[in-house]
Symmetry: C2
């Protein structure tokens, strides 16, 4: 259990890598650039990430899910109004600064950016998006129990509407940044749940 101490923390450097990956696609993000952002050298990197860039990306997807998916579940639970929390999550997208609107959903981006050879990571992104669908579906169910969502509709299907809307708005906000237009799209789509 001896040895030279690490100068870094796994979670911290993966967060830095996510920042880089969100600015350009997997192939365009060079290891040199990633390592510079992470603040570690190649020696440390290839020791900890035996699979190189691909493993880093995989772990960044998992790390992202801990922050997004798990946090969403926790907040839904905590607030006691899961659907209200979800709707607010969407509405907030209308008002973020323009630069942030150029960023998409980390999972959806992975599906678009990864080439066919990165099969494993693509499947992981699909898995995490389906987990998001599950979370949306559970929010719909609790919304139905609270009388906030139409009870005669299949929650699973409404969950699909929501994940599809999630996928769409993350592209649309990159082409149209007007808060008013984005807000009208969001409000309009939530009518599907009524």
């Amino acid at each position: 259990m001896a040895g030279r101490p690490r100068i870094y923390n796994d979670e911290n450097i993966i967060d830095k890598a996510i920042e880089v990956f969100r600015g350009k696609c997997f192939d365009a993000a060079s290891t040199d650039e990633l390592l510079a952002a992470m603040g570690i050298g190649k020696g440390s990197f290839y020791l900890n990430f035996k699979g190189g860039k691909e493993e880093l990306y995989q772990r960044s997807l998992k790390r992202f899910a801990e922050n997004l998916n798990r946090k969403m579940e926790a907040e839904m639970e905590r607030s006691g109004d899961a659907m209200g929390y979800i709707k607010n999550l969407f509405l907030k997208m209308a008002n973020i600064p323009s630069a942030q609107k150029d960023r998409g959903c980390y999972y959806g981006d992975a599906l678009v950016q990864l080439s066919a050879k990165d099969k494993a990571n693509k499947e992981l992104a699909v898995y995490l998006l389906k987990d998001l669908h599950r979370i949306f579906t559970s929010a719909v169910k609790s919304g139905q129990e609270q009388g906030k969502v139409a009870k005669d509709k299949d929650p699973e299907t409404l969950g699909w509407y929501l994940i599809n809307f999630w996928n769409g708005i993350h592209i649309t906000k990159r082409m149209e940044k007007s808060p008013e237009i984005l807000k009208s799209i969001i409000e309009g789509n939530f009518k599907l749940l009524e």
Copy 2:
């Protein structure tokens, strides 16, 4: 007007390039690979595409628009039922083969795949997506005239719902390929126009 005759046709080779670009992102598609698919050598390429890969991509976006946007307008006109044509366009996506479901909208993909440095091409993709919004909006208007779309709703706003739905379904079909689920998402979302 003399000189060695070209062995290729601009439109043909750009179509081949589009095939390559749709399989991987801009940065990951190498010129060698592109030229092999296009069937021309570097000499011919850099003579015709002075701007290199970036110009090729730009012209491929424009070429794609001629085939998609212009064709959509023509079909809407020809069919005499613009909204029916648009809805059918979406419904067809539910039943295409799985491999095709892994491909997205060429413009939306551009927004996700291009890095910040390709500003010009990103703006072109935005322009073409906005042209699609205009087309959707005009379909809504003609649907309203024909009593197929609710008349009390702003066509521009419904156009936004449609372009956002377009953006979304092109991501969603990459994560969920079931024709039934995709069909239910499409049918459900078109309720927003009623």
